[in-house]
């Protein structure tokens, strides 16, 4: 089955890093961060906890929201 990314004409490196299984190693490699097996095991576990709710957060519709500018968090919103 052809990879949908093939149709996008992206560089091969970007196609690879877009795949979920490659997210952690690709992200680390792009930033030049080294990780051993223990680091990776922790990161996979943390990713499993955080990534699904991150996707839910991104899907939350906040389009109609007027953002506070420089809010004073000790006070109620204006």
């Amino acid at each position: 089955m052809p990879d949908p990314a093939d149709h996008l004409g992206l560089p091969a490196e970007m196609e690879a890093s877009a795949r979920p299984d490659d997210f952690i190693p690709a992200g680390l490699a792009s930033l030049g961060i080294e990780a051993d097996e223990v680091d990776l095991a922790v990161m996979v576990a943390v990713h499993g906890i955080f990534w699904p709710p991150i996707l839910e957060l991104l899907a939350l519709d906040t389009s109609g929201l007027e953002l506070e500018r420089c809010p004073d968090l000790s006070k109620a919103p204006q």
Partner: protein, 453 residues
Amino acid sequence: MSGGLRAEVAAIAAGEVDPSELLGATLERIEQRNPVLNAVVETFPERSREMLAAAPPGPLHGVPIVIKDEWPLPWRAQRFGAAQLLAPTAAGESGPYRALRDAGAVVVGVGNMHELGAGSTGNTSFYGPARNPWDTERCPGGSSSGPAASVAARLVAGAVGADGLGSVRFPAAYCGLTGFKRPVGRSAMEGHHMATVTTLIVSGPLCADAADCRLLGSVLFGEQLEASDAPGLRIGVVRDSVSEDVTPEVREACETAIEALRAETGGEVREISLPDLGAATLAAILIINSESMSGVTPEQLNDLDPELSPIARGSLKYRMLLPTAATVQASRVRTLMRRRLAALFADVDVIAWPTVPAPAPPLESPLVELPSGTLTADQANVRGAALANLTGIPSISVPVGLSTEGLPLALQLQAAWGKDELLLDAAEALERANERRWVESLPPLAEVEPTEA
């Protein structure tokens, strides 16, 4: 003596207690009780005596206080409970130190804390874990683990913690104390080494009861928090996982406390709706992650101290990968929740739910069994705490019972911006309602008077 902060202040003011003798007795208590608790990681008797000798008259004159390993002292840089920090530290005068000094208090020791402030249990620290005085095989709560264990064991009557995602309220709950979080910008924070974390972390008091929190909090916050009643309190309750995915004992204790608070104040309980609490929790985590990682370089992460825990090492590296779009969305959720809360607080005075969904878990395995299944304590605890940090509202954790295993249970009250005094009033009303049963409960370890004192 260790009869509470107010009692110590009053005894010194009346000349019934010599503050130098109180300091000596406190150091003896720490020497006797701390080895099994690991709550205090360092004392400095000479420095404390010098502080006492120079102590001005003030609301805490001569009273020994423990401060969390999160701020520098003039003679000691903070370690943040970790083998390595990603931002520079140095000895110096922090805001909380100055506030204590100017109030006449004596810093008697530094309290242990969860490594890098990144946990709700206190089971991981460069110094080894602090232990819960109610059961030394249990977590004391984090990240202000040592300050809480110090007060619960009555090593001292008051301690200063810090709360970025619940780190004062979790250990207060696990240790049977009252822990108070004010809005950002309203408490002494100067000198905190993570200068980029500007919108979530505040210093806060951990004491036996609300009146002591009012006293220590007034010093930390630089303003007098006046006491009043809380007549006709309108208590909002949310039917959500934060109040329902909890152990039966927690649920019963909190529901009993809410009803007692309602009766004591002649108020009412109103069911309210607060959608997207999960998104709010994640938003707070993302914002504190982005603030704390600001300025951290890949080179630093490639040079982490091998003595940092594996979880800290892996988590720090993972934080670098979090998408910017999620952090931006987190800021939008902050606005969303602030507006929703502002609307809700037109109808209720406080929002009440359990501080933590289960009592303190074992140090060796900090997991909690909830109706939804087994979760790490960190996963479960943050659900009820992060909203206050995200939105800036004040919050307080109050002890409301003991489990069948003899572990403290706690209720959290949250109020609108500027209603800090009302929260303390409500907490005191709750203490009256249960005849101070829970704030005066002591772990067995604290009931044994040191022979020398």
